[in-house]
Each structure stands twice: as C-alpha cells, then as structure tokens.
C-alpha cells in the first residue's frame, strides 16, 4: 500500500449558520474553541504516524473564524506534521474574514492555497443561503491576496437554488470569471436532512432546470479556459486541487477533527460529531474495513468522477486484475455510457450528470 500523503483537518466553528449546511459545525465559542484545539492536537499526536505529507487541507466549518491566538495554536499543532517541500496547503476562509493580517499569518505558516466560499453574489440567492458576499469586497480582497503572492485560489459557486433563474446564474458566472482565480468549485444545491432548508421544507428546483444550469456552467467555464476535470470542479491548467484528487484517486488520507472522514490503512472512518466525546478522546464513530472488492468499487465510484476517468494500466498495477474482467465495462462502452480512449475509461460527458445510473450498473 502506498504511504499516506494527505491530511484533512476540520475546524467545526462558524459565526453564522448557512441554511444549506449539514457539515459538522457549532456557533463559535471561545471556551469550546480552546478545548477543541487542544483535543485536535491530541488526536494528531495519537494517530499520525509520521508520514511525509504533501497535501494538507484545513476546512470547516469556518477555519477563518478562529482568532489570532487560536490560529497560532492550530499552526503550532500542524508543526507536528512533516510537510513536504512541495506541499499544497489549502486553507478555507470566509470572504468577510479575509484581512491583510490573516493572509500574512497564513503565508507565514506555509499556506499556499486559499478556498473562499462565496457561493453567489445575487442578493436573493444570498438571502436564501443566509450568507453575505459583495463583489467589490471580493475583488479587492482577492487582488490583495494575489499581490502578496497567494495566487492559487478557489472560489465556490452554488446553483440550483430556489427561485434562481438562468439569468442570475449567468450573472454570477460573469462576476466569478471577473475575479480571475485559477479554480472554481460548483455545487448544485442538495437539501440535506437536518439543515435549515429541510426544516423549512424547501423543495429542490426541477431537475430539468438544474441540468440546464450545469450545462451552462460547463460551457461558460470551458470557454473561459478552465478544464472541467471532475464532476463539480474546474481549474486552469496546473491548478487542479491536489488534495481533492487524493479522494478521487482513491488514495489514503488522514481526517483529523470533529466529524472528519479519513481513509487510512485500508479503513474508511468517520469521526464522532459529538464535541464532548471528541474532547474525551473518543474519535472514531464509524469504520468501514475494506476488502479487495470494496477497494476496487471505490476506485470506480471515485475515479469516474474525474473526466479523464480511470487508467486501465494503473488499475491493473494497483489491484493486479483487469478492470474489464471485474466489471461490465465493455457492455457499458457499447451502450455509450462509458468511453474508452488512450487506455482510459471515463463517463460519456453527456451522461456525467446521471453518472449514478451508470455506477449502479457497474458496481
């Protein structure tokens, strides 16, 4: 098995709860934050096996809602981890939290990639999502980051929101492109249980409109020079998220923190969402121990999210079996669901948005 190269760290605090979010999060509270950061340090000390890490991602929640001292504590904890020379170090932040001071601190601690959750600039959309974002603010802050050399930036775009029209989506896309960042993640709204939206019984928009929006996004971003490299992700050449590719390449990674998921030593696990349990050192809530078949299934489920799909030779090298012998690939190629090209198998781009239908037939 290849060594673990990636780490995800979860910071479960927010100063505002967004209507759609079902991630593990709490209202920021100083006392809890301090206790939590200590517990996080303990988890890393307990579980991390000293591998050299080349991809690290601090997500949330809202990592940027921590104050200066807390951030210092967090970064001192990260010093426990051996970071490779060419590390990709991503830090998630809220647009409102971005200040020169914060950026300086991040840069001083080897952060070299920023992921900003903007979602939309449309007033109605933001109200629906219970968020804030002003284009002028975004424009000046991103310019500031770039001026300091922090150019590898991702921004999130949400669509398929209640009441949203094609027109407002196009407007958002225009503004997002204007920000000229090398990576854009797009998410179609899912109404998850236990979110404010679910409580309010908000209905999803029609799947026809949803699919139409997806097509518009693909076309617009492609024309602007972005490569559509994964179902929901677009990047300028060379700016694909290395950390997220860890997931889609079915490679192992640590997940540290409350509610975080990880994949280590052939076990997929999810940490507890209970703050008290976590602080008490009871980290893992669920474990899935993988056999050969499960590992191969994951390789397919995740690998086919990439538009380049799965390399057959790579699959053979990893599992010592031919993909075509293990799964009804040829049948689906014949049906036009999958495409075989240059030693790779990938989902027919026209069917990317219904790829679950194909995966069900495969695994």
């Amino acid at each position: 098995m290849e060594k673990i190269r990636a780490v995800y760290i979860h910071i479960p605090f927010c100063k505002q709860i967004c209507s759609y979010c079902d991630f593990c999060k709490f209202y920021y509270d100083k006392k809890w934050a301090d206790e939590y950061l200590q517990a996080l340090e303990k988890e890393i000390r307990d579980r991390y096996m000293d591998e050299t890490i080349s991809k690290i991602y601090i997500g949330g929640g809202t990592p940027s809602c921590l104050n200066n001292e807390e951030l210092d504590y967090l970064f001192s904890t990260i010093k426990l981890i051996n970071l490779a020379e060419n590390i990709e170090f991503t830090f998630e932040c809220n647009l409102n939290d971005i200040t020169e001071e914060l950026i300086d601190k991040l840069l001083a601690n080897r952060v070299n990639r920023l992921s900003i959750g903007i979602q939309s600039f449309d007033e109605d959309n933001l109200k629906f999502l219970e968020r804030e974002a002003y284009f002028a603010d975004a424009e000046s802050k991103i310019a500031m980051c770039k001026s300091k050399g922090l150019t590898n930036i991702n921004i999130d775009l949400m669509y398929a929101l209640e009441g949203q029209s094609i027109r407002t989506l196009k407007k958002d896309l225009k503004l997002f492109l204007k920000l000229d960042v090398p990576h854009i993640s797009t998410y179609s709204l899912m109404i998850e249980p236990n979110t404010k939206l679910a409580v309010k019984k908000v209905q999803a928009i029609s799947e026809d409109l949803d699919a139409k929006m997806y097509d518009i996004i693909r076309k617009t971003l492609k024309n602007a020079g972005y490569d559509h490299y994964e179902v929901s992700n677009f990047a300028k050449p060379g700016y694909e998220s290395k950390h997220n590719l860890t997931y889609w390449n079915n490679e192992e990674y640590y997940g540290f923190g409350l509610g975080a998921s990880g994949y280590t030593f052939q076990i997929r696990y999810t940490n507890t969402r209970s703050l008290t349990k976590y602080i008490g050192g009871n980290y893992v809530m669920e474990k899935e121990i993988l056999g050969e078949k499960e590992m191969m299934d994951y390789e397919l489920i995740l690998g086919l999210r990439k538009t380049k799909g799965i390399n057959l030779k790579h699959f053979y090298d990893k599992f010592n079996v031919n993909l075509q012998n293990q799964y009804p690939v040829d049948e689906l190629v014949k049906a036009g669901d999958l495409i075989y090209e240059d030693g790779n198998i990938f989902i027919n781009p026209d069917k990317l948005y219904i790829m679950n239908e194909i995966l069900i037939k495969l695994v």
Partner: protein, 602 residues
C-alpha cells in the same frame, strides 16, 4: 346410549345481527350464564377464534357450541350456532340458519335497524325460523329504546311485548332471553328411524382430525365406522369420530336426529366437502337430499402476486393453507408480464378478499400486490358462444364480441334521510338504476338501487361511509346480469401494454378513468434514461397520454469533505431501489406505482 335428555329438550338457534350490534358480546354472556366458561377464563368474544375476527369485531367462520341451561327446574341443551354478519358470507349464514329452528335478532338500541339486520332477517324468514327480537346495548347512554322498538314494529312487524331488552355488556336481560329461547323456539323434529340425513352447515380443517364437518342431524343416527355419503359431491368416507362442541371437542358414540355436532372422516381435502350438502349412509341412503344446496361461486376475482417474486412458493403454500379452511376461495396460477408469477384468486366479495390479503400478511408474513378486482362478465361471441370472463386479460378481441353482460346487485342502503341526495348521486355515478326508497321511520330510509357489481368492488363502500359520516349501512343481493357497453382498457408504458393494469370499464367512464391512471403513473414512475410515454388505450385507440421526461440528473454533485463512504451507501441504496423495480419492457416501474394505481380510485 349417552344421550341424557329427551330431544324435546334441545333448542337449536342462531344469533343474527348487523355488524357491531353486539352479537359476539351477547354470545359471551350466554356462555357465561350457561357456565361454559367462568369469568376468569373469559376472553372477550369467545366464539371468534381467529385473531382477525376479534380485532375486526366480526365473525368470519362459523362456530357452534353446546350449552346447558335450566328452565323451570328442567335441563335443556341449547346449540348456539354462530353466523358471520357480512353479506359476503350470506350463503354461509343461510346454511347455518337452516340448521336452526329459531334465531335471536339483535338490534343495537342506539343504532336501530341496519342493512344487514334486514338481510339476515330475510334469510332467517326464508327458513321459517322463530325470531326473537332483542334490543341490545340498552345500557348505553344514547340508547333510544322506544324509537328502535317502534322501528321493529313498523318495519319488521313485531309486537311490542315480544321485543326483549338486554345488555350483552352488563348481562341484564340475558337470562330472560334464554328462557324465551326455551319457551318460544320449537324443539327439532325427531326421526331416528328414517335413513340418515345430516346437513353440513360448515366445515374447517383441523391439523389432527382432517376436515371437521359441522352438521345438524335431521333424520336418523350416525356413529363411528359408518360409511357416509355426500349426496351432492357423491363421495363416500368412513366416520372416525362424532361429537359435539363445547368450547373444545366432546367426543360421543353417536349423533342422533335433532342434535348439532361434528363428524370427522379422515377427509384430507376440504374441496371434497360442500357446505349445504346432505350426508347420508352409503349402505342405507336417503332418497332425497335436504333442500337448499347450492354451489358457492366466487363473485370477485383478483390476481395476487408476491411483491418479491422469489416468494411465489410461499404464497402458494399460504393460499393452499387458507383454502383448507375456506372452500369458497378459488385459486389458479396466473402469470403476469408485469408482476411475475401469482394466482388468479376468487372471493365471495370484497371483504372476503380483504380478509384473505390481511391474513396472508399477518399469518404468513407475505406482502402481496393484488390487481384490480374483477367480476364475472358474460361475453357472447359472434359465433353464438358464451364465455364467462373473470379477468380483463381473458377478454376476447373486441371484433369477436356481440355483447357483454355484467352482474347487477340490488341494494339495501340504510341511512339518515338527510343523506338521500348525496347517496343517490353516488349511486348514479356508479351507473345505478334507481328502484325505490322505503322509510324505516321519519328520519331513516332504505334506498334501493340496481348497481353493477363491478362498480361496487372499487370504492363504493368507502365513499358511502365517508359521505354519510359513517351513518349509512349497506347490503346487497345479486339480481342478475344486464347488457352493458363495456370495454377493456389497457395501459401502455413506452408502447407496451401492462397486463396487470388492464381493466374492464364502462365506455362512458373509460376516458376519465384512463386519464386519472396515466396521470397517477406519471407521478409515480421515476424518470428513466429516455422519455417514456404512458398511454391508456381501448383497442388501438389512445384515449389518454402523459410523458415521463428523460432523467436529467442523478449525481452526487458534491463529494462532502472526503466522506466517500456516504456516497457508496447512497449508491447501494439506489441499487437496492432498482432491485425492487419491475421491468415492463425497458421501463423500470416501482412496486409502489402498481400498488398506488391498484389501491386507490379516482
């Protein structure tokens, strides 16, 4: 000889009532007063053996019990023969009444006369039984004794002084009622010398004894080792046991003229026995059977399929077991392209069907899909030949049909007069032909219509109940076949007819019905990878159409923070969902879609 009493001390009687008028509770009190059970052993509704009977408060299968009762210092044997209360089982009611000389007519003192009060009373009168009218539930605060008494006098012609007042709940008046049974009901006529004639009024299957025949010995005697002959079925068996029912079996040496009891004869198959048949001795047969035997014919047919096709064998076993105790249930294998292997099953009526489906679920843990109930249509072909059709899929091609006839029923719908308007509208909508209304008192009427049975089997009763706030009661008798403009309507998915959804419908209703079904299916069938037309057709003519748009989205757009286990679980769930789908041509249809279309109406 084990007979302790002269036969003039035997009384055979039934209790008849509308559903919920307290028949079983009254029977419980009678059992208690006759010391057959004491208060401690008392379980409510002792005679209702089946769990389902207790729960629904109805009697499905007949039970009979021998009681001892003292009247003016002398001991009497009372044979209480219980009857089912529902119209579906009217033939069984009539057979058990034929075994009696009298009947207690129970009427709820707060409800008054209801549809089945009349239906059951008419059956009893056909057999010339002595009727003892009784107002029950007089302990209830809303009992209205004078009013209901007046109904019995005005509508049924009883005299005021012959109507007894009882409470099955408190026991008030029950002893007096038993005295009245002894006084008023004639003892059976005894003739021990003539050749054996015994009426089979019920039968059931006992795992140890085989088929148990419940009989009334009219003439002669029967004992163990006798060779008995079923006169209508023309079969011979050797008697292995005779006896009477107390709450258990009480084996005797002989059964004699006038007695009510049971006979076992190592009969393995209940189909070899017909309720209403006459038993005689093989070597000394009676010349004529007792009158009144008729073969019971199922009226309502439905295809029953297991929701999991792998459980076909279990369904087969279960239906065969139920059939052991239910000679009126008919089953034959049926194959549906949509639902797989199952059975065309015939029932006496809708309640009977409902009971069987519930028993399959409860006692055998089987989930089933039942296709729309069908009646028996009489189809005359161009060649002059007549067919009986019990399934839409057996309907011959339209071009070969000269005429189709369908069975009609004659209704008793008893309801407060304020509901006359809505009830008539309902009957009219069900293609009813108005006959007449009778007033039971100034506030309540009995409305008579002739309505196609095929319309009743859908949702007539539910609608009637809801539009009259539960006040209407309903009963019917068959009144023959009439010509009808009926057509077979098919439902097509992506151009293929779905056999399980075909129905026979009146021409005038086909359009609405077709439209409602295709609309419902459009909502219930998930999008597929291609556009799917849903059509309703009569022959080659399309009368309604909807489209299911092609699937546009099924993707987990966001892969949450590396939580991919969750994604795999979601796929597994979708895969499980697919497994429960039935393939109709190239279209995947969830079971629920069939269930929803088949279970509700309009």
């Amino acid at each position: 000889m084990v007979i302790e009493m002269a036969n003039s001390h035997i009384r055979n009687f039934s209790i008849i009532a509308h559903i919920d008028h307290g028949k079983s509770t009254l029977a419980d009190r009678i059992l208690e007063i006759c010391h057959l059970v004491d208060k401690r052993q008392m379980q409510d509704q002792m005679l209702d053996n089946m769990e389902l009977e207790r729960e629904r408060g109805i009697t499905i299968k007949l039970n009979t019990v021998k009681l001892n009762c003292n009247y003016e210092g002398e001991n009497y044997t009372l044979n209480l023969i219980d009857t089912p209360g529902h119209v579906d089982f009217s033939y069984e009611v009539s057979r058990s009444l034929a075994a009696c000389e009298g009947a207690i007519l129970v009427v709820d003192a707060s409800q008054g006369i209801e549809a089945q009060t009349l239906a059951n009373l008419y059956l009893a009168m056909e057999d010339d039984l002595t009727i003892i009218p009784v107002l029950n539930k007089i302990d209830l605060p809303n009992a209205n004794v004078p009013k209901v008494k007046k109904e019995l006098m005005d509508v049924l012609g009883f005299k005021e002084d012959e109507i007894l007042l009882v409470s099955g709940k408190t026991g008030e008046g029950v002893k007096e009622l038993l005295d009245e049974v002894v006084k008023k009901i004639k003892p059976p006529i005894i003739d021990k010398q003539s050749p054996l004639k015994a009426l089979i009024f019920d039968s059931y299957f006992d795992p140890y004894k085989g088929v148990v025949l419940l009989v009334k010995i009219v003439d002669g005697i029967v004992k163990v080792k006798d060779q008995i002959k079923m006169m209508a079925m023309d079969s011979v068996f050797e008697v292995t046991e005779v006896g009477v029912h107390t709450l258990n079996y009480e084996s005797l040496d002989v059964l004699e003229s006038g007695m009510v009891g049971y006979i076992c004869a190592s009969i393995k198959d209940i189909a070899k026995v017909a309720v209403g048949d006459t038993i005689t001795l093989a070597n000394k047969p009676a010349l004529e059977p007792l009158k009144g035997y008729k073969k019971m014919k199922p009226m309502v047919f439905s295809g029953i399929f297991p929701t999991e096709s792998s459980r076909y064998d279990e369904l087969k076993d279960a239906l065969e077991k139920l059939k052991l105790n239910d000679a009126s249930l008919t089953i034959e294998p049926e194959t549906s392209a949509a639902l797989g292997f199952g059975f065309r099953t015939g029932f006496l009526g809708l309640l009977h069907m409902d009971i069987i489906l519930t028993r399959l679920e409860r006692e055998f843990n089987l989930d089933t899909i039942a296709t729309s109930p069908s009646v028996i249509y009489r189809v005359t072909l161009t060649g002059g030949e007549t067919l009986e059709i019990d399934s839409p899929n057996k309907m011959p091609d339209k071009t070969k049909i000269v005429k189709i006839e369908e069975p009609y029923i004659y209704t008793n719908i008893i309801a407060p007069s304020e509901f006359i308007g809505p009830i008539m509208t309902l009957c009219q909508n069900k293609r009813g032909i108005f006959k007449t209304t009778d007033y039971i008192n100034e506030n309540r009427v009995n409305i008579h219509y002739e309505i196609p049975l095929g319309e009743i089997v859908y949702d007539f009763y539910d609608k009637l109940k809801s539009m009259t706030k539960g006040y209407a009661s309903f009963d019917y008798e068959l009144c023959g076949y009439k010509d009808s403009k009926l057509v077979k309507m098919d439902i097509l998915l992506n151009g293929d007819a779905v056999d399980a959804l075909s129905i026979i419908v009146h021409e005038s209703m086909a359009y609405n019905k077709g439209r409602s079904i295709v609309q419902k299916l459009r909502k219930l069938i998930p999008r597929q990878n291609f556009e799917v037309p849903i059509q309703a057709s009569i022959g080659s003519k399309i009368i309604a159409r909807e489209n299911i748009a092609a699937l546009r989205k099924n993707v987990l757009a966001k892969c949450y923070g590396g939580d991919v286990s969750r994604k795999r679980k979601l796929l597994e769930k979708q895969k499980e969902g697919k497994k429960r789908m039935k393939m109709i041509g190239s279209v995947e249809v969830p079971q629920e879609a069939f269930l929803a279309v088949l279970s509700e109406d309009e």
